[in-house]
Symmetry: C2
Subunit: 133 residues, 2 copies
C-alpha cells in the first residue's frame, strides 16, 4: 500500500544554484544534504507538506543522474512513493510482471528503497521508499 508522495527527484547541474531557487526563491524548507558516493550524487532535501523535493547533482560522469543531466540538462527525474513495507511492494510489483531496476531493496537517502524500471512505467522512473523511522 503506497501512502503518499515521499519525494520528487530533480536533477540539477549545481546543488547550490538549485537551493537558491527551490529554497530561497520558492521558499521550500531545507532539511538536509548529503553526498552519496555509491550513487554518485550530492543530494539536498526540501520539505513541502508531507513530501519533499530531492535535488540531485552528479559528482561523477558514470551515474544515471549524470547521464540524465547530460541528455536533458536536468529537470524532473523520478517520483518516490512511501510504503510501510518496501519488500512486500517489490514482490507485488514483480508478481505483476513489472520490470525492476533493483531486484531487492537497498539503503538510500529515504530509507530502504527500490526503483522500478521506467520501461515498465511508460517513461516515469518510480521509486518506493520505506523510511527508517
Amino acid at each position: 500500500m503506497l501512502s503518499r508522495i515521499h519525494h520528487v527527484g530533480v536533477v540539477v547541474p549545481d546543488l547550490d544554484a538549485g537551493l537558491r531557487f527551490w529554497r530561497d526563491t520558492l521558499g521550500l524548507h531545507f532539511t538536509k544534504s548529503a553526498t552519496i558516493q555509491e550513487q554518485g550524487v550530492r543530494a539536498a532535501l526540501l520539505k513541502i507538506g508531507e513530501s519533499e523535493i530531492e535535488l540531485l547533482e552528479p559528482i561523477n560522469a558514470e551515474s544515471g543522474v549524470a547521464k540524465f543531466l547530460a541528455r536533458r540538462g536536468g529537470g524532473l527525474h523520478h517520483v518516490c512513493f512511501q510504503t510501510d513495507d518496501v519488500e512486500r511492494e517489490l514482490e507485488a510489483a514483480r508478481a505483476r510482471g513489472i520490470q525492476l531496476i533493483d531486484q531487492k531493496p537497498r539503503h538510500g537517502l529515504a530509507g530502504m528503497i527500490c526503483f522500478l524500471h521506467p520501461k515498465a512505467t511508460r517513461g516515469v522512473l518510480v521509486e518506493y521508499a520505506q523510511p527508517a523511522d
Copy 2:
C-alpha cells in the same frame, strides 16, 4: 506560502493505458477525469496521500503537452504546489524576477492556476494552484 505538492503531472500517449498502470498496477485511487479543450488534453487524477498524480494525454498536436509527448515520448511533465492565494504567489514570483508563462491566474483542473517558466526554474515546469474549495 506553498503548503503541499498538489499534484505531479505525467504525460502519457494513452490515458486508458496510463490508468491501467497508475490505478490498476500501482494501486493509486482514481478520482476523476476530464477533457480540457482549451488546453488540448484529456486528464485523469489519482489520489495518493495529500497529493495527486495527474495523467495528461494530448487531444491535438498543438498543445505543449503534445509537443512534450512528441519530443520525450511522455514522462514527468510538471510539479504543482498548492497555495491559498495564487495571485499573491504570482506577484511574489514576478517581484523576484522569475519568468512566467501566465501573467495572471487562470482556471485549470486544479482550481485557479498559473505556470512559472521552466527557464526560470532550471528545467522544471512549476505550477501554482489555489483549489476552488
